[in-house]
Symmetry: C2
Subunit: 646 residues, 2 copies
């Protein structure tokens, strides 16, 4: 393999230039340059989403095709061997992500709570109100200091302490030596009119920076959901609570394995943990860079970070070895990891930004689930509630303010766009809504109303339900070869969702039998977990007063259709609420209200874990669920009736 | 100038090898190799104490002599231009330092308090007892953890927290993420039998490391006195309180200026602060390395550090810009700097070792003085006491448990060995005791009973007093040319203390008129400060019930002779107690008892500062004191009587 050191790579449009490392792939170089590319396979040459055009120079397209290449290449398989220019087609970009990651609902809550009348939203609003009680993890306060005189000759540190107490009632504020090193210059250059940036600590506050005033200080925060497949970052103004933007990408750890277990195994190899840690931290740094540029803020103005993820993801993010999670007796290093500074984990924000992880319960129930629970508020009501989080790991929680029981089962990333040939995240160009018209043709709607480039979770749910409803697919998931939208493809019958001449990528968007099988398995696992947990608790679905559905489907989910395919149990529609990405919503609540973290710890203490993998009945439940909507029609009477099968 | 990159330098005896940087001086290289050399001029080619022999290869002896050199060179002026071997003569080493830095008195206190009956010692013992009440800044506790099972499946972090509470009653122990990263391996490899290394924090404890057990954990600490001229490091076993060893050297910042003011000016130049910071931190690192090797402990086992120094030295050590200390209204960045981790200041001990600075009072009264006060215990008694600290800056404190008033005046480093041609620190070969025999000849005693290489503070006091007593020197400091020990030297009459053939260096040890002048000025400044402070408080010397004398004179100080030369006021001898290096003793108390730091803060709050530089009477006091013992014989009636002058 030819290797060049210090090749200049120019990315267009935009003109960003990077001096690439020897043998670096174009995908890595693009990330390093802050130009993240699309992809769901983690850079293994499988998903073919990271296509770029080499407009000047050549690359080694080593793995898939071999030899030197120009023109269109997969960035993940192209190694840099000299100075090049690269064009990134619109279809390979992921900036479109910034608009669709669940933030709309949150901002709706923040801006107009009175217009929202469903019960759970009222509870969420109550949670939002908490932040006014105990405030965000970090914040900026104006501080107007009297300049020292011979009669008032306190040291700078003592003066800051006195005025923080006098002007804001804050006592015993900790001051790191690094802040003191810069303090004399900042205080004097700012004419003693500054903003104190403070972080809440276990016992009080820490002064993490001094910004020159006058005028209000800037303090921004990040809420981050680290999923096994997808990472979502929200940028939040800590002063107002407003979400300024969001960005998401496939978790680049995917290249080291699709699921939690394979990541844990990789972490046990020499250097593996560090590879996984830097993959996720580096990726978050790129997403944060994109957000910071888009909103014209400095990285140093980001002073608080709340992270939610399953226990393994949280371990990998913090650099904690996860090996014991999969060895009996399944012991994580920490379920409620300590708060630390950004510099300790390598996040490129303010070095002393507070980084708090949402506390989890055990190796298999992480901070993403407690985040879900606090986001939907099921821990605060008497209602018997169920939470179903549809992710790579499918989790179900049943309970209320008195008890919480949880289970988890591996569902795979199908509803997040993984393992489905045209699957994608809910980003620009994703087909998010599908209908089969009375004329038998397929109509769809994309995120951003641009030409389609794939299908996101909500679109897949719609598509399956519509195929069933129209009778183009049977209950076992077999496509009817003579249906109007079905054609014979390379792997048997397939649905042509959008023809090449209408798509952003210039390729057909299809759904074949293998895709349907993956979706069927995923929905069966999710449903089986929920159903078995209820059974073990002696609860019937009709006893459950409210079901919250979380997951990265997209901006919305058609509950009716999710029931129709048997992903969700059949209960009266008004009992089901889609809460979107509950993990990032819970993290954001934790970011904006320190008390939420305490609440999440309480949730973790209260919650018990039901291990379904050792329950013989699980496989039985799972197999029964491998039909649309289910083998047992008695569980889906209305759905089956509406489908008019047999 | 010829410059070589990566030259191998071998130091003998010992055979240490260093790959030196381009153009590095031999003195710097020796420090970097952990072989500190003697010197009092900070590497300016003045004191000629750092002589080494280049046994193989050549160096550029650039400044003093020019051209290539072999054989004997001054390490501070010799730049490395290629591979060389260097012999370090015994006279140029500073290892001898390890035995004489005030630790003997402390260990005496620790081991046999019942044998000591003077009042102030009893108080010191009371202070020592404090450490059993609230203990050292950091300590190791055995922790025997039950291994996790399916029924006891807490995370490692939660298990540690539970057992710290169960076994030691410690709640809410903070755990840095770095400790958790290593915890799973350590816990399992040690079979769950470990030692928890804990540091005390403002609100509780932090787990700074986990050591494999079984057996008692090792926790060592450092007490450091950073003087303007001398830095002293004591290595302490935090478990027993025993001082294992001590090392000292000239503060290498001396090369950037002799006194506090010139250091502050240098700190204001581009890169100056960082030069000063790394000079002192690097030097402490070398001394610590020497101590660690000598006592066979790992740097990582050093988990707590207490530092005492004047306010500017503390600023430079922590990297705090000191500029405002010398500008009206004289504002330090901090007088009670925050506790931090060793990694934040660059100390090469355990990266999370607690580094606490003794709190000071103002820009001109630092943690060295509060350390002196807590060490002598004058803040706890009803007795009207005076503390005189003879250092580069001479400080006096008058007060008791109800009030404390302090002043400072620049005395120069004469009694620490600076500015006196044969002056040196109280290290091996220092003449520490001098007598003029009845036969008129000079007898002396050296530290370590080895051939002499210079005269330390106590020896200088003795020498001056004996010259006066024998009538070889008059009250103005003029040597009598016909006295038996006086000869005509290059700069006029000089005392031949030891002839070349009897010394370690092979050079005469002498005291000339310029040396005497420097000593006279230093003693005059110290006395004038003490006398004027008493006058301003309306206190006569006879009212003062106890005088504590601190300073780097050596292991002891002949109080009678210190009065005879007018360094100390004439009061009944039994009222005066020499406490040695009170700064390092106070720091050690702070290291061993966290409450001492609180006591020092209280001392700082209570103490007021009397600015003598603006007091017109100071010059008058100073000039009056420029005689042995004093112009005003009424102040030294017994001394003058014994001298039988005129």
């Amino acid at each position: 393999m030819a290797v060049a050191v210090g090749s200049r790579v120019t990315f267009e449009p935009g003109g960003r230039v990077l001096v690439a490392e020897a043998g670096q792939t174009l995908l890595d170089a693009a990330y390093a340059a802050g130009v993240p590319l699309d992809g769901v396979c983690g850079g293994r040459g499988i998903c073919e989403r990271c296509k770029v055009v080499v407009s000047h120079g050549t690359v080694d397209a080593i793995e898939a095709r071999g030899g030197r290449a120009t023109g269109e290449v997969l960035a993940c398989l192209a190694r840099i061997v000299g100075d090049i220019s690269v064009e990134i087609p619109e279809a390979s970009r992921i900036e479109g992500e910034q608009i669709l990651t669940g933030m709309e609902r949150w901002d709706q809550l923040m801006s107009a709570p009175e217009e929202i009348d469903v019960v759970h939203l009222a509870r969420e609003v109550a949670s939002v109100a908490e932040r006014f009680a105990d405030g965000p993890l970090a914040f900026a306060l104006p501080l107007d200091l009297p300049p020292p005189t011979l009669d008032d000759c306190l040291s700078d540190a003592a003066r800051l302490a006195r005025e923080l107490q006098r002007q804001h009632g804050l006592r015993d504020v900790g001051v790191p030596v690094e802040v003191l090193r810069a303090a004399p210059a900042t205080l004097r250059e700012a004419g003693w009119e500054v903003n104190a940036v403070l972080a809440r600590t276990t016992h009080g506050h820490q002064l993490i920076d001094i910004q020159p005033g006058p005028g209000p200080g800037m303090a921004f925060g990040l809420a981050i959901d680290i999923g096994t497949t997808t990472v979502v970052v929200h940028l939040v103004d800590l002063g107002t609570g407003v979400t300024l933007g969001a960005a998401a990408a496939v978790n680049r750890q995917v290249r080291f394995g699709d699921d939690v277990i394979s990541r844990i195994i990789h972490a046990g190899e020499p250097g593996g943990l560090e590879q996984l840690r830097t993959a996720i931290v580096g990726e978050i740094n790129v997403l944060v860079g994109t957000l910071a540029r888009a909103h014209d803020i400095a990285r140093d103005e980001i002073v608080a970070v709340a992270v939610a993820g399953n226990t393994t993801m949280t371990h990998l993010f913090l650099g904690l070895p996860p090996a014991e999670i999969r060895r009996q007796p399944y012991i994580p290093v920490a379920t409620a990891p300590p708060t630390c500074h950004a510099s300790q984990v390598g996040l490129r924000v303010h070095p002393r930004a507070t980084v708090a992880s949402m506390p989890g319960v055990s190796g298999w129930v992480g901070g993403d689930i407690t985040a879900d629970v606090v986001a939907c508020g099921m821990d605060r009501t008497a209602e018997l509630s169920m939470l179903i989080d549809v992710g790579t790991n499918g989790e179900t929680v049943i309970g209320n303010r008195d008890f919480l029981v949880c289970c988890a089962c591996s569902a795979g990333p199908a509803f997040e766009g993984g393992g489905v040939s045209s699957g994608m995240r809910a980003a620009g160009g994703a087909i998010q809504h599908v209908e089969i018209t009375d004329a038998g043709s397929l109509a769809y709607e994309t995120v951003g109303s641009v030409p389609p480039r794939g299908i996101c979770g909500s679109g897949l749910v719609d598509l399956l339900a519509e195929l069933l409803r129209a009778g183009y697919m049977d209950r076992a998931g077999q496509l009817r070869a003579d249906a109007p939208v079905v054609r014979e493809g390379p792997n048997g019958p397939e649905v042509l969702v959008a023809a090449a001449d209408t798509t952003m990528t210039g390729r057909d968007i299809t759904l074949d039998s293998a895709d349907i099988e993956n979706l069927l398995r995923a929905k069966a696992a999710v449903y089986a977990g929920a159903a078995l947990l209820a059974r073990r608790l002696g609860v019937s679905m009709s006893d459950i007063e409210r079901i919250y559905v979380a997951g990265g489907f997209g901006a919305y989910l058609d509950i009716r259709k999710a029931i129709l395919i048997g992903l969700l149990p059949e209960v009266p529609l008004e009992r089901i609420t889609f809460i979107g990405n509950g993990s990032v919503a819970g993290a954001k609540m934790g970011l904006l209200a320190k008390s939420v973290r305490r609440r999440a710890i309480e949730v973790g203490r209260k919650m018990t874990y039901q291990e379904l993998s050792v329950d013989g009945a699980f496989h039985e439940e799972y197999v029964s669920a491998m039909f649309f909507p289910h083998t047992d029609r008695g569980r889906f009477p209305l759905a089956c009736a509406s489908l008019k099968f047999d």
